[in-house]
Structure formats: C-alpha cells, structure tokens
C-alpha cells in the first residue's frame, strides 16, 4: 500500500520534472529539475530493492555530474531565447527519436509479457545473491571483468583525448613548485657579510634585476642569487 503510493509519487514527480527540464525557460532551473528527476529515479530504484544503484545514481549523477553541469550552465552567457527559435524546426526529429525509443521499450516489455520464460534464456541470470551490492560486484568483477576493464579503458582514452585537445602550455603563469620551496635552505638565499664602515655594499651585488616574466622562463627566478643581509653593517654603525 505505502509502496504503491510511494511508487506513484516518485513516478509522477519524475515525469513532471523531466517535462520541466525541457520546458523551463531558465537553463539553471532546467538543471535543477534534472537533479529532482535523478532523485526520483533513485527513489524508484530503492522501491525495487536496488539500493546500491540508487545510491550510486545519487553519488555519481547528482553529486558530481550535475554539479559540473550547473557550474557550466551558471557561467554560460547564451541567449536562450534565440536558441529556442529552432524548436519548431527540430521538434519533428525529436519526436521521431522519442517514438523509436518508446517502440523499443514496448518491444522489450512486450516480450516479457508474452513469454515469461524468455528471462531464463538470458546470458547473465539475475543473481539471487544475498545483497545486490554483492551480486553486482560478482557479475562485474568476476564474470565480466574483461568487458568492465575495456569499458574503463575506453573512458580513460576519452578523458586523455579531452585533456590533449584542451591543454595549452601557459608560459606566463608562475607555478609554485612546493618541493623546491621546501628544499631551499637559508644558505641558498642568505649571505652574511661584514661591511666596512661608511663603505656600504656595492648596489650591484645585491640589487639584482628582477626577471622579466615575458622573456624568461618562470622557473628561473629567485633562488640563484642570494640576498645579502646587511644587518651586520647596521650593527657596527650603531656602536
């Protein structure tokens, strides 16, 4: 009874928010409705006893993917009214895609309906294991480890491809190399000199020209030329 109510509640909100995703005027609202849709899908998973899938849906899609989505959409400065003008032109294509998907779904469900025995012919039987976390792990990491690894490699290649396409060498930015900072010792940077009275230090020895950031490599500055501490000189003068 409660399960029924929960199912219809989740399903109704899911469909309504999915409709709002495509019809909301503000793209940020669209993404927020998408997040609501993910949540309700997670709720439906939970009702079916697929607790692991529900949590992973929330963690991966809501917690990571949708955040980046929202991040990008909030920063976009696109005139969405202009974008919407093509909607009449592209609506038939969208409708055809939707119809095809719907037909495929009908066929899948129809087969189950007309021939319940077909589910026994599946290559991978639904494991009747204790918890579905363990069952999924068994399927993915024991029986289909090769396919799973290949899928992971495909994603890795896609990721490296995206990085290679967008990587550009920024010669102007000054990177902090923490290892070098830590490796520096006072001897590298400080030098104590005792200066003759009224003689001072020749300016050239401590006032080094600052590296021109445009001309020189950013790694080159700083630690070559030691600063000179003239504290000793002041000390002597006071006496």
């Amino acid at each position: 009874m409660i399960t029924m109510i929960a199912f219809y509640l989740f399903a109704a909100i899911l469909i309504a928010s999915a409709a709002m995703v495509v019809s909301a005027r503000n793209p940020v609202h669209s993404v927020l409705f998408l997040i609501l849709a993910f949540f309700n899908a997670a709720g439906l998973f939970l009702l079916n006893g697929a607790e692991f899938l529900a949590m992973i849906l929330v963690i991966v899609y809501v917690g990571a993917v949708a955040v980046l989505f929202l991040f990008v959409v909030m920063m976009l400065d696109v005139n969405f009214v202009e974008l919407r003008e093509g909607i009449q032109r592209y609506a038939p294509i969208g409708a055809v895609v939707g119809l095809i998907l719907f037909a495929e779904l009908l066929m899948v469900v129809g087969v189950w309906h007309f021939s319940p025995a077909i589910s026994t012919l599946r290559v991978a039987l639904t494991p009747m294991a204790e918890q579905n976390t363990a069952a999924l792990g068994d399927l993915l990491y024991t029986h289909y480890i090769l396919l799973f690894q290949i899928a992971g490699l495909v994603l890795l290649v896609a990721m490296i491809g995206a990085i290679v396409l967008t990587l550009r060498e920024r010669t102007l930015s000054r990177h902090q190399v923490i290892a070098r900072q830590i490796a520096r010792s006072p001897d590298d940077t400080l030098e104590l000199v005792s200066v003759a009275l009224n003689a001072g230090i020749p300016a050239a020895s401590f006032r080094r020209p600052l590296a021109d950031p445009l001309a020189e490599q950013p790694q080159e500055h700083d630690d070559r030329h030691p600063h000179i501490v003239s504290g000793a000189a002041h000390h002597e003068e006071r006496h």
Binding site: M55, V58, I59, V62, L70, M74, Q131, A134
Partner: protein, 339 residues
C-alpha cells in the same frame, strides 16, 4: 503498550521519537559547538571569549539564536526568491538526514541500511547544492564566486574521500556502518590505515568548508562568500548546517577509523563507560581538532587547495587503496562477503 507500537500510528510515533532522540541532542550540540569554538579560539589567542550571558557565557548560544530570530529576513532585489529561500533549507536538511544511518551503539541506528557508507557519501556530496544554489540565487558577484569555488573544491575532495572509504570497506567486507564498527573490535582502523585517516580528516575539512579550506567564505577576499546576502534565520540555517556537517564528519571519522562506540582496547576500566558515551567522546575529540586547526593554520590559496586535492591526495589515496587490496589478497585476510 507493546501492542500499540505495532499499529501504524504507533510505528509512526516511534519513528518521530527516534528522530527527535537524535536531532535534539545534535542541535544542542551544535549550539554549544559554536560556544566551544569561540572559547577555544579565545584560549588559543589569549582572550576570554564569551563570558557575559549566563555563567561563563554558557547561554551565549541561545542569546545569539534569539537575536537571529528577531532579525528581518532580507531578500535582495533581483534574487530568485524561491531558490534563495530553498538553499539554506537544503543545507540544513541535508546536514540532519545523514544522521539517520549513524549507529550510536551496536544496532542503535534509526535506519539500519546495508549501504550505509554510500548513503553518507551521497548525502555529504549533496551538501554542495545548498551552497551553489545560494550563490547563484543571491544575484551577487561575491556570492557567485564563493559558490563556484565551493563547487570545484567539494567535487575535488569527494574523490579522495571516496577512495579512503573504499580502502576501509576492503578491510571490512561490508557497506553496513554497524559491520564497519564491529570489524574494528581488534584494532581500530586508524592504526593500519594511518595515512588514509589523515587524508580523510583533511578532506573532511575541505568538504565542510572549514578553515584552512574556507575559501567559499573567504572573508578577506570575497566578503562572506556564498551567504553574503543572507540575514536572520536563513543565515542561521547555514550556520547550523555548517556545524552539523562538522559533527557529521567527526562521526564519520570515528565510525570509519576510531572504532565508533567501541571502548579503547576493550578492557575493563574503559568498558565501564557505555558505548554511546565513547562515541560522543570521539566525536568531541574530532570537533576539537576541527577548531584547533582553525586556530592554527592560515587559509590556503586556491591553487594550493586544488594541488593538494588532485596532485597529492588523489594519487596517495589511490596508491594506498591498491596497496591495501594487494596486502589483503597476499595475506589471505580479505574478508569474504558480508561480515
């Protein structure tokens, strides 16, 4: 009486009572956490801290809450009203609902679900929405900058938190929080997994936007970051949410690494104290370190924050995960199935 609690009304009443039993102490704890923070910071800086309202300033938290209630809620023009008011509620509610799965003693959790760790991970990764929605709906530059910073920061540190959790799960063989604590009967996980414990705690600081990773607030550069436009109760909800999240992170640290409700060593003088007391003591210890860190370290620069997350913690936690898995396989200690 027992029969009454079997009826639907009784079950509902029981659920409400269970929720209150954990939320009321939590909110009281949050109120005194703000007081404790001010006192500890004051002690670090050789000041007195709040000492006027009540004995030793003990009623300061309630005076602050009363003040917040009296103030006017200001909604800036150009702000998205619904989202503007929704954001603090999301922050607060998310900080509360995570406590449904926290086991206070053996089997003492409101919801004993099998994927407890994943639930906690999911809820804590949702915390970013309150901040990002607040920043966007305020229609203010500073708020927006704070929101973008926090989005990047929380997504980055979640990754290493995930790896740390997986390496703990490898040692337990179950996603159930109760099993995780029981698996630490012999040795608390912070001893064998010490680097992971440190990574988890520091990532927890970043995940709760606490100093030295409080760049989303960053008073010195972006005023107060994402909640610069908030006032009165909406502001108070953010504040409560932040402290409740600190408590949650402390509770997660004590469950994953410090043996939850288990007494240290499991021997006589320690076992006289009941489990929940030990659990609370461990949470308070973590809270103290949270505040201590705030009093000690300067704020990170943004590029240093990103470097720490992606170039230090991510490789380290991944390496340690593989090491843990390899060690467990090689020694045959790998737990099989649910404990």
């Amino acid at each position: 009486m027992a029969a009454f609690f079997q009826t639907p009304l009784g079950i509902l009443l029981l659920m409400i009572l269970e929720a209150l039993a954990i939320l009321v102490p939590l909110l009281l704890g949050v109120a005194y956490a703000t007081y404790a923070e001010r006192k500890i910071l004051a002690a670090i800086q050789l000041r007195k801290g709040p000492n006027v309202v009540g004995w030793f300033g003990l009623l300061q938290a309630f005076a602050d809450a009363g003040k917040m209630l009296m103030k006017e809620t200001i909604i800036p023009t150009g702000a998205n009203r619904i989202l503007f008011l929704l954001a603090p509620m999301i922050t607060f509610v998310l900080a509360m609902i995570a406590w449904a799965v926290i086991p206070v003693n053996d089997g003492w959790a409101i919801a004993k679900i099998n994927v407890g760790v994943l639930y906690l991970f999911a809820i804590s990764s949702l915390g970013v929405y309150g901040i990002i929605i607040a920043g966007w709906a305020s229609n203010s530059k500073y708020a927006f900058l704070g929101a973008l910073r926090s989005a990047a920061q929380m997504v980055s540190y979640e990754v290493s938190i995930g790896f740390v959790m997986v390496s703990v799960l490898l040692c337990v063989g179950s996603l159930n929080l109760n099993d995780i604590v029981l698996a630490q009967r012999h040795v608390w996980f912070f001893i064998p997994l010490f680097p992971m414990f440190i990574v988890f705690f520091i990532s927890g600081l970043a995940e709760t936007n606490r100093s030295p990773f409080d760049l989303p607030e960053g008073e010195s550069e972006i005023v107060a970051g994402f909640f610069v436009e908030y006032s009165a109760m909406a502001f108070a909800l953010f504040f409560l949410g932040e402290y409740a999240n600190m408590f949650l992170m402390s509770a997660m640290t004590s469950i994953l690494f410090l043996g939850g409700w288990l007494a240290p060593f499991g021997i006589a003088p320690f076992t006289w104290l009941p489990g929940p007391i030990w659990f609370i003591l461990k949470i308070l210890l973590c809270m103290f370190v949270f505040i201590w860190v705030r009093g000690t370290f300067p704020r990170y620069r943004y590029d240093q924050l990103m470097r720490l997350g992606w170039k230090v913690f991510l490789p380290l936690s991944l390496f340690w995960l593989i090491l843990t898995a390899g060690f467990l396989m090689a020694t045959g200690l790998l737990p099989q199935g649910a404990a």
